[in-house]
């Protein structure tokens, strides 16, 4: 074989290897999804969303689980997004670059890689026991907020760092203050990437089971946290209650985990249906992230 033919051979071989690896990955994923759909599809009915868990598989539903998931996600978002973006802006734009901030930076990157169950233990020790929040929605939301916080800080910093320094200089040269520059130039330019990071972090948090089990989320729960909006008979006809924050809860992945561990065959169907719901939610969130990233790339290019 001459040199050209040999090169050609290696080229083709590598291409083949590449195709094999990607098809392996895709096929395994596809097989899993199809399996789940076949198992779970019959249970996807309106009743499934409207029912509490039950001892009878055909009666069981995910009402408490999806409501719990929404509660937890909202609390997690409300706490982690402002703190995360604030910390990211401070570290990137205000903090002096010295050994101490360097040390903080390294530790935030490390925290992003700490196993989630460790956060669960922290949540149990601090929020549940020390702060006496018990096994409440608030304790769960705070724990997950801690879990996603490093990811949000990191993505905020990356998004800010991707903005060329010429934009900062242009703003300062016109007599803008630091905050005006951040508020008017940096944040609008970075927000697409920041949001993408936040949504990906949230969709990861939505699937987390271990920290919430550690915190003490219940696996069987036949009531919902107190609705924050209370309808009244008299003026102003509506009130807001924070009582729900202190109620016990469960979330989708925990409900699924619970069903999978049951011996009855019917619960496997329930679990598969639950997985479908969780998968679709994750898919929707990731699509929003991809859409935002795409929009951002279209709008801002330097």
């Amino acid at each position: 074989m001459n040199r050209k033919a040999l090169n050609n051979f290696w080229d083709k071989l590598f291409k083949l290897l590449g195709i094999t690896s990607i098809s392996f990955g895709l096929l395994v994923l596809l097989a899993l999804i199809i399996d789940v759909i076949i198992d779970g599809y019959p249970r996807i009915t309106l009743n499934f969303f409207k029912s509490f868990p039950s001892r009878k598989p055909e009666m069981a539903g995910i009402l408490s689980a999806w409501v719990g998931t929404i509660w937890i996600m909202v609390i997690t978002a409300l706490i982690s997004i402002p703190i995360g973006i604030g910390a990211g802006i401070y570290l990137e734009e205000y903090a002096p670059k010295n050994k101490f901030t360097n040390f903080i930076e390294i530790n935030i990157a490390n925290l992003a890689g700490v196993p989630s169950v460790i956060y669960g233990l922290l949540g149990l020790g601090f929020f549940v026991r020390y702060m006496n929040l018990d096994r409440s929605v608030l304790a769960g939301g705070l724990t997950l907020a801690l879990l996603v916080l490093p990811v949000i800080i990191l993505s905020t910093r990356e998004a800010l760092r991707a903005i060329p320094s010429s934009i900062r200089e242009a703003s300062y040269a016109l007599g803008a203050t630091k905050w005006q520059t951040i508020r008017n130039q940096l944040l609008p330019a970075a927000i697409g990437n920041i949001l993408t990071g936040i949504i990906l972090a949230m969709s990861r948090a939505m699937g987390e089971t271990a920290p919430l089990i550690t915190v003490g989320a219940l696996t069987y729960i036949a009531f919902l946290p107190q609705n924050p909006v209370i309808i009244k008979d008299s003026f102003p006809f509506m009130g807001i209650s924070f009582q729900g924050l202190f109620d016990p809860f469960t979330v989708l992945p925990i409900q699924i985990y619970n069903w999978v561990s049951r011996p009855q065959k019917g619960f496997i169907t329930d679990a598969a249906a639950g997985i479908m719901v969780l998968l679709i939610l994750t898919l929707i969130m990731n699509s929003i992230a991809i859409f935002l990233r795409y929009q951002n790339q279209k709008r801002v290019r330097w």
């Binding site: 200089e169 242009a170 040269a173 803008a176 290019r301």
Partner: protein, 252 residues
């Protein structure tokens, strides 16, 4: 009678331990154009970036000596650098419009100053775009994203943005190095006109440009001011051998 609007006294600048400027004494007359020439790394950019204190944003940057603007030291603690930068405008090497509309690019200088009056801003947008001869090209597309303009148009927009807030001094850091010859010609024409109302300091690598646009020329080498004088004099009869070597193209 023209007066020194700006003066540097024994200006030394450092990045960390590295000394970039080694004691520069220069004075700038109001309503003149001064060109600063010199080979790469001689401190030209550091010098003009010190005048509006934009270098102060860089960690490890340190300055010694005085910069006197309108009889006041710009590092005096009574001087607000934000205020200083409104009076000492700057156009950078590469066009750096904000990723916003053409209109918003110019209006930004007013927004951050708390000026909200639409008529004031509209008038300023039109006037400054006319000054830089961009008005005819963009008047129907003011809401278009500035990044869709060509490089030369973007740079003229950056001029318009700097002019709109009516500074007293305009610092130009190689404003033509990233754009085409036709846009360069337009910008040189613009500099000629602006001289009536502004004091201009231009850093350039292009000797012909320095000769064409400036009244005074300063030659920098390795952080030192080698020669300063009327542009005619510097280019026809330089006093220093190193200046002569540089402008005749023997090094640099």
């Amino acid at each position: 009678m023209a007066k020194n609007i700006l003066e540097t006294q024994d200006l030394k600048a450092y990045f960390g331990n590295k000394q970039i400027l080694k004691g520069i004494n220069l004075a700038f007359l109001s309503n003149t154009v001064t060109a600063i020439i010199g080979p790469s790394g001689c401190g030209k950019s550091t010098f003009i970036r010190s005048i509006n204190r934009i270098n102060d944003l860089i960690p490890n940057f340190r300055i010694e000596g005085n910069i006197i603007f309108n009889d006041q030291d710009i590092h005096d603690k009574n001087v607000d650098e934000v205020d200083l930068r409104r009076k000492v405008g700057m156009v950078f090497q590469r066009p750096n419009p904000f990723p916003k509309s053409i209109y918003d690019n110019i209006a930004y200088g007013f927004n951050i100053y708390g000026i909200k009056d639409k008529y004031t801003i509209d008038a300023a947008v039109e006037n400054s775009l006319k000054k830089v001869a961009l008005w005819e090209e963009v008047k129907n597309n003011l809401s278009q994203n500035a990044l869709t303009l060509s490089g030369g148009q973007q740079q003229r927009l950056c001029f318009a943005r700097a002019l709109a807030i009516e500074p007293e001094v305009l610092l130009l850091d190689e404003p033509c190095s990233a754009i085409d010859p036709i846009s360069t010609a337009k910008i040189e024409e613009l500099i000629h006109q602006l001289k009536k109302n502004y004091t201009i300091i231009i850093v350039t690598h292009n000797m012909q440009q320095a000769a064409r646009v400036s009244d005074y020329t300063a030659f920098f080498l390795l952080g030192e001011l080698i020669e300063f004088g009327k542009t005619d004099g510097i280019f026809t009869a330089p006093k220093d051998k190193r200046t002569e070597a540089y402008i005749t193209g023997r090094f640099g």
